[in-house]
Subunit: 260 residues, 2 copies
């Protein structure tokens, strides 16, 4: 399997603390040695850093830990390969453009018997993971349902939550999807989240010896949600999502949810 991490915030915020915990799972406290990636949105643009090396040994991951990039929407993934060999084209997150927006996706889980069922046309996978195929399939459905950008972007995310939930019939499908403003988390069996806001306190990472005092890093107005496959800190209360549950976040807050 893999590990997922995402962030939604109301002000550009760095994810160094959470990312530091995550990368330990890429070869130190976890077995996810088959590459990693992280996408930061800055305005409408985004940038993805990725590597096939284990995140705990990657020079690119070291840069991310030392160089705080401030973003309102981030998706990250560390990989333990099942479908698709270890290679850059099989390394999440995946990105496609639709309606002049970049859509970014990462997946935890494994699908089976999907070859005949997922046959995207307009968006096609470059690598050979079940994850990228599922993403292209979902993007195809979205473009078919909304040939033009819907007035209210929540409609698009609600639609994607419903379509993605159907993929749970093919296996385990924990998923993160963002257009840089909204962030959708769909839980199959393995996602949790936490919203941090004033009054901020201290947090301690589970995977490595690191403590942060968010009071020193934030202003009173900051609202930041972090989503992960497993809690990253052990002195805070994370919301554990249930199978079939989805949550939509914007500007650090949950704005819609549902269950399939």
């Amino acid at each position: 399997m893999c590990e997922l991490l995402a962030m939604s915030a109301n002000v550009p915020t760095d994810i160094v603390f959470s990312f530091t915990g995550l990368v330990e799972r890429g070869g130190v406290t976890g077995p996810h040695k088959d590459g990693w990636g992280i996408t930061f949105y800055e305005g409408m643009g985004n940038r993805t850093f990725r590597d096939c090396k284990p995140s705990c040994q990657s020079q690119v991951a070291s840069l991310i830990k030392e160089y705080p990039i401030k973003s309102q929407a981030v998706i990250s993934h560390i990989r333990q390969a099942n479908r698709g060999r270890v290679s850059l084209e099989n390394t999440h997150p995946f990105c496609r453009e639709l309606w002049g927006r970049y859509w970014t996706f990462a997946h935890n889980g494994q699908l089976s018997g999907y070859t005949d069922k997922l046959k995207p046309q307009r968006f096609q996978p470059v690598g050979n993971t079940d994850s990228e195929l599922a993403f292209c399939y979902l993007m195809d459905k979205l473009a078919e349902r909304f040939p033009e950008k819907p007035k209210e972007m929540r409609q698009a995310f609600r639609f994607m939550a419903q379509e993605a939930a159907k993929l749970r019939e093919l296996g385990v499908f924990n998923m993160l999807l963002t257009d840089g403003r909204y962030l959708l988390a769909l839980c199959s069996n393995n996602l949790c989240w936490i919203t941090r806001r004033a009054p901020f306190g201290e947090a301690r990472l589970i995977d490595t010896d690191m403590v942060i005092d968010f009071k020193k890093e934030t202003t009173e107005k900051d609202i930041v949600t972090v989503i992960a496959t497993r809690p990253l800190t052990h002195n805070e209360q994370w919301h554990t999502m249930e199978g079939g549950e989805w949550q939509l976040f914007k500007d650090g807050l949950p704005v819609a949810s549902g269950r399939s």
Copy 2:
């Protein structure tokens, strides 16, 4: 304007030497302070590093100079903004997927009177540069002309060279385009290239005090072409391209060319 850099090679090769010369033009020997980007293909996958900061001050650019990523196809760009503000979404190279391949594009020049003429549908720009709009327009044309991947990929690049040449009617359009295997260079007024192969010699950068002995870095079989808006070394003979000329490269060698 901007500066362009590209590489095509028959074996995975690092571009640290040429990139080191290029980034000097991003604030030291040149005025191109408005961001920079570089895309490396590794297999079918690619990764783009980009930053809105001047390349000479960018921590991400320092990583690229210190961390040799080996690739057979690279496109890089440093920006001096004319159309579109300084932002990540306006930072080249731009990337889109078609037929399960990633297409990467960078542009030097400036177009005028294009708003009514370039109205892409399927591929839409995220930022507001003339460059990304022209790229989306060309990708639209390509997808329209070849709804499925042509058997011979050279057909696609010949078509793109012809379509891109028409954009020269709207202004200056020096362009680089790759799918990770083929690399197309179209010259409006400002492109040159050099192919290095055995017997390799020494090269000296123009923009900073750096000398490389390619004999020590290569094998006898290596063939590497570097393309740039202006020569990067002063002791080698670069081919200066003419207005309207295009060259297609694969595995480090020129494989087709033409003139509009």
